[in-house]
């Protein structure tokens, strides 16, 4: 019954409120067939609620869900062409592994041989062919996880929804299963929607990632886009280490780069919106900052002097905390090549923040540069209101919202 060949999942302006709290705030996602799509965000960002709405366990307050192009508004969970791998697996404790996996097949009109064949196939797929007559309680966490996967995959759903499926496993097993899971997804070609708060998981497995925060999508893109070109401070901070600095934008420098003022110094940022003005955040990854001796001859742009506050040896690299004259402290990572310059704690240094590594970030509720759709007035107005309330939104963002 849960058979689908198409596998597209489209969410349009989904909203879900619990009392006064808006768990999911106008989320729009268009997931093509066969994609490994991740929703990444901290707990409480609305990713699990979104997943539960797709599965049918929660009713959206507004917005539409299309699975295989079909509107799911009045479909109960047992009629939807998606299956879920639950966070705690939810394997039926009173059934053995085989019966757990066959549970869904037996709800349809299949012959007994067909059920047995497909169940065995699914168990072989997750390498648990020998474990059919075991109880879930007799399996290890990783094995239980695979049973849950087989139980959902055996129905050949249009989409597989995974709710932090590796969350309960230890780090080593998790890394191993990440690889297996990705291989499995490529093998079966089913659309995966994967919910996680673990950035490594999302980056290693996904075709595309939606980074979520406070019920909204902060940024959506491929893993490299998200990591290399974070649009907002939240995304930059959530994925990998980032140095965030408060800045004021002064627009284009005539060469397509943005002039930003940080702590009274003017820096040039080549990444992000070059015409940005007003209060902004700029960011640079620790590994992109260069450190020099203060007396070294240099004509590099964005030179800032500072002092080493702390130096941490982490084997493959040195991590330095440097207090800049800009009034902020940044983290610098220097690869341990064996012949790199050493900097002692307390030493005066010169930090170079190369323009081609310095990025101007979008304020959280400002529309995207690529002409964000103005269709939804309520979001942007609400967004602007929130921005004012938090006191951080510059005039330009407010105008954009109005």
């Amino acid at each position: 019954m849960n058979q689908g060949t198409d596998g597209t999942i489209q969410l349009t302006n989904l909203v879900k409120r619990f009392g006064d709290h808006t768990a999911v705030d106008h989320i729009t996602m268009d997931i093509p067939s066969g994609e490994f799509f991740s929703m990444l965000g901290p707990s409480g960002c609305g990713k699990t609620t979104t997943l539960r709405m797709i599965a049918g366990f929660e009713q959206p307050d507004s917005g539409t869900i299309l699975l295989n192009g079909r509107n799911m508004e009045h479909e109960p969970p047992h009629k939807r062409p998606v299956n879920t791998v639950f966070q705690n697996y939810a394997l039926f404790p009173h059934l053995n592994v085989f019966d757990n996996v066959a549970f869904g097949l037996r709800r349809g009109k299949l012959s007994k041989q067909e059920i047995n064949r497909r169940t065995s196939e699914a168990l072989d797929l997750v390498m648990l062919g020998e474990f059919g007559d075991r109880r879930p309680s007799e399996l290890s966490g990783g094995q239980q996880q695979r049973v849950a996967l087989a139980r959902a995959l055996v129905l050949k759903p249009a989409g597989l929804l995974l709710d932090e499926p590796l969350g309960a496993l230890d780090a080593k097993l998790r890394r191993q299963l990440q690889i297996e899971l990705k291989a499995l997804q490529e093998q079966v070609g089913i659309t995966f929607i994967y919910v996680t708060h673990d950035q490594d998981e999302a980056l290693t497995m996904s075709d595309r990632i939606a980074v979520m925060n406070e019920g909204q999508v902060e940024q959506m893109g491929t893993p490299s886009e998200i990591y290399e070109a974070p649009e907002t401070a939240f995304v930059a901070d959530f994925l990998g280490a980032s140095n965030l600095m408060d800045a004021t934008g002064h627009g284009d420098d005539g060469r397509g780069r943005c002039r930003v003022e940080v702590g009274g110094h003017e820096l040039i940022a080549a990444l992000g919106n070059s015409s940005a003005t007003g209060g902004r955040k700029v960011t640079i990854r620790p590994e992109r900052v260069k450190l020099e001796k203060p007396d070294a001859p240099s004509d590099a742009e964005n030179r800032v002097s500072g002092r080493v506050q702390r130096s941490i040896y982490i084997g493959s690299a040195f991590q330095l905390i440097v207090e800049l004259e800009l009034g902020c402290t940044i983290e610098v990572e220097i690869q341990n090549t064996g012949d790199q310059k050493r900097f002692a704690v307390g030493e005066e240094v010169r930090a170079v923040l190369p323009p081609e590594a310095l990025r101007v970030l979008r304020n959280r509720n400002e529309p995207r540069e690529a002409a964000a759709p103005a269709a939804d007035d309520t979001t942007s107005t609400a967004a602007a209101d929130r921005g004012v309330a938090s006191g951080g939104t510059p005039p330009r963002a407010r105008q954009a919202g109005a």
């Binding site: 019954m1 849960n2 599965a55 049918g56 366990f57 109960p76 969970p77 047992h78 009629k79 299956n83 879920t84 639950f86 705690n88 939810a90 394997l91 039926f92 404790p93 009173h94 053995n96 549970f103 869904g104 709800r107 349809g108 109880r135 309680s137 007799e138 139980r151 959902a152 129905l155």
Partner: protein, 315 residues
């Protein structure tokens, strides 16, 4: 030389002795002796009266307080007039008690399970008051319950005469709360995840109930059945208020009236029979439970599950 050794050893021995004594009372690694003592005192205290009552059902005389020798059968069926088997009053009381308990069990358990399902899965306005109301029969004094039921049947539901029917209705009203509380506790502790998983895999709500929820609720259902049987078979107040007279007398009513006139050990015998029956019911429930979950257990797990059967979760 030895004197010195003696002297150094003396305080050592004293300290060790003191340590020993203290360890008896408060050794964190030892057996919890104080708790064990209290537990045993409590067990003996509760079981002793029952054992004495049963013992006197084997008395070879007409006294229920003076031991006159052992006779295994006299008050059960040996005595041609006064034994339980020969006395029509006792026999009918026993039969009435069993009938009430059996019917109560058969009616209150399914109703209570359905109510528990409704209450546990009812999200939204009204669920809290409804859950609280379920506790009412438990906290209302039984005598108040009995009198009110009597008045209700007397003046409101006048079509129900004081009779076995009224007694059953009264006991069901009273005992259904126990079922609800035990089963609801189990439902809350297993959570919604299995239901959601079943629905996700294509099970209709009815299949979900039959294939997932019922098997998972089974221990709680059996436990509540046992509780209903136990509180119903020795119910006095409600059975008395809704009684139709001698024909509706239950064992407790019979025992009560007998002890006010001239009690015979046959009263002990009939009471002892109730104890045997209750024990048999517990054993039966255990066997049924083992049978129904025979495949489910990982080795050595079933015992503890059964022990948890009656545990109540007041979430």
């Amino acid at each position: 030389m030895s004197a010195v050794a003696e002297e150094t050893r003396k305080p050592d021995t004293a300290a060790r002795l003191l340590h020993r004594v203290r360890a008896l009372v408060s050794n964190p690694h030892g057996r919890p002796r104080a708790l064990m003592t209290i537990t045993w005192i409590y067990m003996v205290w509760t079981i002793l009266p029952v054992l004495i009552a049963i013992l006197f059902s084997f008395n070879d005389g007409r006294s229920i307080s003076v031991w006159q020798g052992f006779d295994a059968t006299r008050w059960y069926w040996g005595d041609p007039v006064n034994s339980v088997w020969q006395d029509p009053g006792l026999q009918s009381a026993l039969w009435q008690s069993l009938k009430l308990a059996g019917l109560d069990m058969l009616i209150a358990t399914p109703l209570g399970v359905l109510l528990a399902l409704g209450l546990a899965r009812w999200r939204g306005y009204g669920s809290r008051p409804a859950n609280f109301l379920m506790l009412f029969p438990l906290i209302t004094p039984e005598i108040v319950m009995g009198v009110s039921l009597y008045l209700v049947f007397q003046y409101v539901y006048v079509f129900v005469e004081p009779s076995t029917t009224a007694q059953v209705l009264g006991q069901v009203t009273f005992s259904i709360s126990y079922v609800v509380i035990v089963v609801r506790g189990r439902l809350l502790s297993i959570g919604r995840q299995y239901e959601e998983a079943a629905a996700d895999l294509g099970a209709t709500p009815a299949q979900c109930l039959r294939l997932v929820l019922l098997p998972l609720m089974l221990p709680a259902i059996l436990a509540s059945t046992m509780i209903v049987f136990a509180i119903s078979i020795d119910n006095f107040v409600i059975a008395q208020w809704l009684s139709c007279g001698a024909g509706c007398d239950t064992v407790p009513i019979k025992v009560y009236t007998a002890t006010r006139s001239a009690p015979l050990p046959s009263i002990n015998a009939v009471a002892a029979i109730m104890v045997y029956l209750t024990l048999a019911a517990v054993v039966l429930a255990y066997v049924v439970y083992r049978f129904l979950t025979r495949g489910e257990r990982a080795k050595g797990q079933g015992q503890s599950e059964f022990a948890q059967m009656g545990s109540i979760d007041f979430n």
